[in-house]
């Protein structure tokens, strides 16, 4: 197995120890698998909690800090965390103003967060929930578990985080989060499969010369397998799908996201093509982020996320944030 790890069973635990060592500004409880902002609970502030399977770093643990999440719950690799973690996180960040759970739409995440919501209520914690389902690769229908949550999660966590930091009450933070979720669309592509520590080999076969369009962040297959495309062809294809669904009439936030194994050099090149398409369609981009933010271990590939923003959301996007994975402003 080609990984620089100790043993597969301990990958997440080891990573949490390493996070604790690297980030004194966070409280990393490796035993209970909860990463909490050191100054939590912040008096009067709504607490933001997210979580999901590990392997998507910096999501979510890398987005804990002032201006974004108050806590994150990392599950096993590609496996949603358990309710115990979420309840513990909620208790750690609730200042009495309530807690927002930011949940990516996967059966496992939804079920576990739902159980946690009930348990937290038993402990007297007020919990609201927002579901991120931004992946347009899968057509939304009664015959699926809905759309998957992917890159849009970053936008939700950032802007809801900024609203909470400003002191907005729970209902308002939840409303902002929902608005951002509703305004976000993602589309991804894989050139090579990720290798999970447990399996030790690529989770699927992608022959040379082929790519998988509409890949999920756990290597879930998407729309179709195709002959390899150029970055320009992919940008044309992805933007077609994205804009068809979003039909924006306001400026966009743009995330050109790496899945982990694709060099930044390629991501910037993809950004150039995405911007070309948007220019051709006369669609304005207010802010751009290029890099590895919502990854799938070492999967080669990328995703494009658009989020339509009004002035308020743009202000929340620009608001200061100070986390291991995203940092700007004061």
């Amino acid at each position: 197995m080609k990984m620089l790890i100790n043993v597969p069973e301990r990958v997440v635990a080891d990573a949490l120890r390493g996070m604790a060592d690297a980030h004194p500004e966070l409280v990393v409880d490796a035993e209970n698998r909860v990463i909490v902002r050191r100054d939590a609970p912040v008096a009067g502030k709504v607490g933001l909690v997210s979580g999901g399977g590990s392997g998507h770093e910096p999501l979510h643990g890398g987005f804990v800090g002032p201006g974004m999440l108050d806590a994150a719950c990392p599950g096993e690799v590609f496996t949603s965390p358990v309710p115990d973690q979420m309840v513990r996180a909620a208790a750690a960040v609730d200042s009495g103003a309530g807690v927002l759970f930011i949940v990516k739409n996967y059966t496992g995440d939804v079920l576990n967060f739902d159980m946690a919501t009930e348990l937290a209520a038993d402990e007297g914690i007020e919990v609201a929930r927002v579901l991120v389902q931004d992946d347009v690769a899968v057509t939304d229908s009664l015959h699926t578990a809905g759309r998957r949550g992917t890159g849009g999660t970053l936008f939700v966590e950032k802007m809801a985080g900024a609203a909470a930091e400003e002191g907005a009450p729970l209902a308002r933070v939840a409303e902002i989060a929902q608005r951002v979720a509703d305004s976000s669309r993602s589309f991804g592509v894989a050139l090579a499969a990720p290798t999970t520590p447990a399996k030790g080999s690529p989770t699927f076969d992608l022959p040379p010369g082929e790519l998988e369009l509409g890949i999920g962040i756990h290597g879930e297959p998407g729309r179709e397998r195709r002959r390899i495309m150029t970055s320009g062809e992919f940008a044309d294809y992805a933007l077609d799908v994205l804009l068809d669904d979003l039909r924006p009439d306001a400026p966009l936030l743009l995330l050109v996201n790496g899945m982990g194994g694709t060099p930044l050099l390629e991501l910037y090149g993809l950004n150039a093509e995405v911007r070309r398409v948007l220019r051709e369609r006369r669609i304005a981009v207010a802010r751009t982020l290029v890099g590895n933010y919502v990854t799938s271990l070492d999967m080669a590939g990328a995703s494009v996320t658009l989020c339509q923003v009004d002035e308020e959301l743009l202000r929340l996007w620009d608001a200061p944030v100070s986390t291991p994975g995203l940092r700007w402003g004061r």
């Binding site: 590609f78 949603s80 358990v82 496992g108 079920l111 576990n112 699926t144 447990a198 297959p221």
Partner: protein, 210 residues
């Protein structure tokens, strides 16, 4: 009609854990094809935790054993299978209350209630290509344990031609056809273990029929 005690349920879950351990890689392979390649690992983690919990906190009634096992699954597995299998066992355990021994039909009814709870939680209907497609026929075949094991295996095999409508395999649409559902495969392991333990008990003549 036979009655079962806490030891029976414990032996069942221990035997199921062994089966999961043995077949974990196969479950992960199945989950690679139409999911995210973690089902074997999830089930193994849960099985080990259940065995450890039952050793650490001995329970004296079938209901309590199932309750503890279900709670342990919820707390250690995560993913879709953790809450779903956890609910199956927890709900069954709750239904059995604190009786020291339960009739086979009571166990069947309890597991049927568990399956109903799973369906309610996950919203899956028969034929949606989920664990329920193995759990349901197995439960219906009870109290004939051998038949239940066989029904679960058949139910799992029968998921191959289905198109998934729940869980992450559903994102695959047509491309989910032609693969066995990993959760149905693990459910077949669970009921296969039940059949073996019941058969062993019968062979040993250890079944009371009070």
């Amino acid at each position: 009609m036979a009655h079962r005690d806490a030891g029976f349920v414990r032996r069942w879950l221990t035997e199921a854990a062994r089966a999961v351990e043995r077949d974990a890689d196969r479950l992960t392979e199945l989950d690679s094809a139409i999911g995210d390649a973690d089902h074997g690992n999830n089930m193994r983690r849960g099985a080990l935790a259940v065995v450890a919990a039952l050793e650490k906190e001995p329970r004296t009634t079938p209901g309590a054993v199932l309750l503890l096992a279900g709670r342990t699954l919820v707390s250690t597995v995560g993913g879709a299978s953790g809450p779903l299998y956890g609910t199956l066992l927890r709900r069954a355990g709750k239904a059995l209350g604190d009786a020291e021994r339960v009739a086979d039909t009571e166990l069947r009814d309890a597991l049927r209630g568990g399956a109903d709870a799973v369906a309610q939680l996950g919203g899956a209907a028969p034929g949606d290509k989920t664990m329920l497609d193995a759990v349901r026929p197995a439960v219906e075949a009870l109290p004939d344990y051998a038949a239940a094991g066989a029904a679960a295996a058949r139910g799992a095999a029968d998921t191959v031609p289905l198109r998934a409508r729940k869980g992450r395999a559903s994102y695959l649409g047509e491309r989910s056809v032609g693969h066995m559902d990993p959760g149905a495969a693990s459910a077949a392991l669970l009921f296969g273990a039940l059949a073996r333990v019941a058969a062993a008990e019968a062979a040993a003549g250890g079944v009371s029929d009070g």
